[in-house]
């Protein structure tokens, strides 16, 4: 049974090293060795991270047997980013309404330390 593709993308990007790899691949294609350079990780470990990104459909690798540079599938990446951004915007919109409400609320409820579930002042 294959996992939900969306979940795979999300979890592939949940790892900070893989997020960083994706950010670098957004600039240019790179081989495993090139990708491994800045990290304190073995090439094998980086290769493993790359495979997770590949399985999620975020990265593809050309057939060039020697180099096999990794390439970021920007469309998949954008789609996922949009999903999260939409969700974030909804939360932001909700909280902007809360900002407005908070600005209108009186500083103190009537009486000190009013129990919360009592007294609807109106």
């Amino acid at each position: 049974m294959s996992a939900d593709p969306l979940s795979e993308v999300f979890s592939a990007l949940a790892d900070p090293t893989r997020r960083d790899m994706v950010a670098r691949l957004a600039v240019a294609d790179a081989t495993v060795n090139e990708l491994a350079e800045p990290y304190d990780l073995t090439v094998q470990a980086v290769s493993k991270h790359l495979r997770v990104l590949e399985d999620a459909g975020l990265v593809s690798r050309t057939r060039d047997a020697q180099r096999r540079p990794a390439h970021l599938e920007a469309e998949v990446f954008d789609l996922m980013t949009k999903w999260i951004e939409r969700y974030r915007r909804e939360a932001e919109e909700r909280y902007r309404r809360l900002d407005e409400l908070l600005a209108q609320m009186p500083d103190q409820p009537v009486g000190p330390n009013k129990p919360e579930n009592k007294g609807k002042k109106k």
Binding site: A3, L6, W83, R96, L98, D99, E100, E116, N117
Partner: protein, 159 residues
């Protein structure tokens, strides 16, 4: 009114099916808490725009429960849950479910932190029982966003 920018931050946890929302407010924890617990205030901001929020029941205390309806284009969506822990100005632990999918329940934890100068950092955690469930939940925002119209969102965001 000056609109300060406090962008909402969304974090999808890699290890557990959890969404974390972080947001700061220009108001002390006492007020932010009240806006979450007083039903008259909750209805003013919680529902998506263009929806009418009506409270069926609201008993915001340890062991209490709640139920409310969002009406969108004459379609009714009911939500309910239990309040497990309500600690003034600090913490609300509650469950949340959409009555259309009663088997799916999320556990919600709202934490308020006084960050000085009359400001508050809110951290809200939603935990569900599968990554698929969480991610569908996050992705569903897109569909709804389209329904509500991006222009309106952009208007608000441009302010």
């Amino acid at each position: 009114m000056t609109m300060t920018k406090h962008q909402t931050e969304i974090i999808l946890d890699p290890d557990v099916p959890l969404v974390r929302i972080i947001r700061e407010f220009d108001a002390p924890p006492e007020k932010v808490f009240r806006a979450h617990t007083d039903s008259d205030l909750v209805t003013k901001w919680l529902g998506p725009r263009g929806t009418e929020m009506k409270i069926d029941s609201w008993d915001c205390r340890d062991g209490g429960s709640y139920r409310y309806v969002h009406t969108i284009d004459e379609e009714e969506y009911r939500f309910r849950g239990s309040f497990h822990e309500v600690r003034p100005n600090e913490l609300i632990v509650q469950t949340f479910s959409y009555e259309g999918f009663p088997d799916s329940v999320s556990l919600e934890k709202l934490m308020l932190e006084d960050i000085g100068k009359g400001r508050t950092r809110l951290t809200a955690i939603s935990l569900v029982d599968s990554f698929e469930g969480r991610d569908a939940f996050v992705a569903s925002g897109m569909e709804q966003g389209i329904k509500e119209g991006y222009e309106r969102l952009d208007e608000v965001l441009a302010e």
